[in-house]
Amino acid sequence: MRVMAQMSMVMNLDKCIGCHTCSVTCKQAWTNRTGTEYVWFNNVETRPGQGYPRTYEDQERWEGGWTLNRRGRLQLKAGGRLKNLMTVFSSPKMPSINDYYEPWTYDYENLTNAPLQEHTPVARPKSLISGKDMNVSWSANWDDDLGGSAGLGTKDPVLVKMEEKVKLEFEQTFMFYLPRICEHCLNPSCAASCPSGAIYKRAEDGIVLVDQDKCRGWRKCVTGCPYKKVYFNHRTGKAEKCTFCFPRIEVGLPTVCSETCVGRLRYIGLVLYDADRVLEAASEPDETRLLEAQRSVFLDPHDPVVMREAERAGIPRDWVEAAQRSPIWKLISEYEVALPLHPEYRTMPMVWYIPPLSPVVDVVTETGVDAEDSRTLFAAIDTLRIPVGYLAELFTAGDPEPVTAVLKKLAAMRSYMRDLNMGRDGDPSIPAAVGMDEATMREMYRLLAIAKYDERYVIPSAHAEQAHGLEELATECSLDYEGGPGMGGSGPFGEGSGPAFSEPIAVENFHMLQTRQTTDTVADPATRKARVNLLNWDGKGAPPGLFPPKPDEANLREPAGPSGETRPLPSGGSDGGPTGAGTTPGPDPQVRP
């Protein structure tokens, strides 16, 4: 047994309202630089839909992830090592910019500079790739909320797998949102595809990162990742991917996407797993048993043997304790309500989902029957093959059994808790029908419905003795590094070349944002320095530079220093700040005694 800790996430899809706040804040924090315009570390897809990039789930076309070869051994779907190397000069299965979309901006200057004329001047869309005028015909969320679905929805690779006759019916009936980030897999095929060995999994917390100094731009990771969550920065020629906001995680803060999630549907915590058994589990011949295989790799953090082995593997005591309190462990292994996205890719993904019950509830409500009665819901889950079939294609390689089981648990919870909330006695037969006891059901309800900030995010920080060297921590001035502030920019060999960037990401962010806000060109100038610093924003107040200064304010106030201090929100800001409710210990309207 080789115990390793994995930082992982669960998203409760019933709560996702598709507001894209996670995508926007993530982009603001990480990918608002030139070269990453089309890069969405976090995106929210409407289902049914094609996803981003278009039809990425069609692995017969894109050849991402792993597959079993004829001898039953695990192999990259794109081919063996030699084939991988021989196709390095022109990666055959890499999506082109058109499979994502051509990013654009608008020529706003024309609105103010146009001469007096009969017609109102317009801001023409300009391509951020070529700088030319362009017609906007696709984007990351073109089919948001099933927009244009009559023609597009049927191209959903998941829907294609389902029977022809259910397709139309499905489109008319069901819709839900699927927020996606990098899965930080236990068996990452992007890392396995990287010829340079630049993509690595951090031994401490399992976060998968790209070493920007080692990446040589061979583009194999883009093909290797079946979720298409490794992106190619076309200006620097390097791969970039979701970092699980590691600078925040290291100091115990949740990722930016979780922090800003309006529906509070994301949970972050540790999972302990047996690294020696990952390969065996990923090689499970029966695709529908991969879910079970992956669950069997996780280790019970309460088990004394596991605790001893964890200590032997050098996992600190407080990390094991955090794993015991982990909401992820509870949702995945205790309540068994979370499911992995596309386990059939065999990468052992570590961002899991609680499938949505609401499509079923909606259908039942429409028929006029009591949609919170457990028997009605159970019957509906059994009868409504369409949503279950679709969810099964997403989460269990097509096996409806586990999806049905999860939906029934959610239905049981709904109907059991209604009795309690109405002041009636709980009906113990309802939890029993889904194999749970009343106490567990109430615990699960608390975690799913009213869990507070520190219950949703159980993140042990990196250790204090390492603090001085961590990415983000104010033990020294954030500008106090070799070369001083304001250095960098575009070197003689193109974007981002020049001396190694030794500055903290926060400082880089600050300068990038400043440049962007004061630039007078249409597209962003060739610089890496125009990002706002949301990374060390804890939701209290507004970091300097988040909003452009108001004209009157700019004169009154001293210019905000780049030292990371926050200033109070502009007038109208509430005490908790826009997303700070989770951090304030005040009364929560959702709590019922």
């Binding site: 390095v88 951090r202 917390d205 920007q212 620097t236 390097k238």
Partner: protein, 253 residues
């Protein structure tokens, strides 16, 4: 008889260029690890690239091996293993011509693509343009030597293995023969000079990616694990404040 010009051209220039080549790479690697990349433009355009890039790269790899054979291996060695002049010549010209044609066609397509595809052209740096020019000149001169010299035999027979090769090996063995190069046909002289100029340019262009050819991929484990303590944070340590390594307790107590 060695003139001053010959000494400068065939001794001084090669050594200067090689020194720039070697030191330049060391400097570039230390100064600009982040910029050390292929700068692939596949995201913008892949229809032309799909054919042109493998054609060029495999072609140039074969050409490189041909040069190792022609310049690196003394004539006496190939004769010692029983390879006659005729066989050698036939092999070199036939394989070399195929590889050369692949390279030239691939390069022509790539340059055409770079110029005509808008996004690719706008991602081209000034250094790229200089590099393309020099590389194209070197390849064109080399192709000319093969076609005009070895196939058509314009300007009479010239066995580079008795001339250019001896001079080239001499550079590394410090046994200098500028007179051999001074006597070589103009095509070979120009090709050699252009090539050394390209070497001097090499570390400052995207050509550095040649030295990160990922051969190690064939042997390394699929998934790379790295411990955070390898490199804490993105911040470089300050002099005098280096981290004291704390050794982890032995695993089995």
């Amino acid at each position: 008889m060695t003139t001053t010009l010959a000494t400068i051209l065939w001794v001084v220039v090669p050594y200067v260029c090689l020194a720039v080549f070697a030191l330049g790479h060391v400097w570039r690697y230390r100064y600009d690890k982040f910029g050390w990349t292929t700068r692939s433009s596949q995201l913008y355009e892949s229809r032309l690239l799909r054919w042109a890039s493998p054609l060029f790269h495999f072609g140039i790899l074969a050409v490189f091996l041909g040069h190792v054979m022609g310049l690196g291996i003394p004539k006496a060695w190939t004769e010692a293993v029983g390879m006659t002049e005729e066989i050698y010549h036939f092999l070199a010209v036939s394989i070399g011509a195929v590889a050369g044609v692949c390279t030239v066609v691939g390069m022509a397509l790539l340059i055409y693509r770079r110029r005509t595809v808008g996004p690719v052209f706008s991602a081209t740096t000034r250094m790229d343009k200089v590099m393309y020019l020099v590389l194209a000149v070197v390849i064109a001169l080399g192709m000319w030597n093969t076609v005009a010299g070895s196939i058509l035999n314009l300007g009479g027979h010239y066995d580079y293995r008795d001339g250019v090769s001896v001079w080239f090996r001499g550079i590394f063995r410090f046994s200098l023969h500028p007179e051999l190069m001074a006597a070589a046909p103009l095509g070979f002289q120009l090709h050699g000079l252009a090539a050394f100029f390209l070497f001097a340019l090499w570390p400052f262009t995207r050509l550095v990616h040649v030295f990160s050819a990922p051969v190690g991929y064939l042997w390394r484990p699929y998934v790379v694990y790295r411990s955070r303590s390898d490199r804490l944070g993105a911040r470089a340590g300050r002099p005098g404040w280096e981290r004291v390594e704390r050794r982890r307790e032995p695993a089995d107590r």
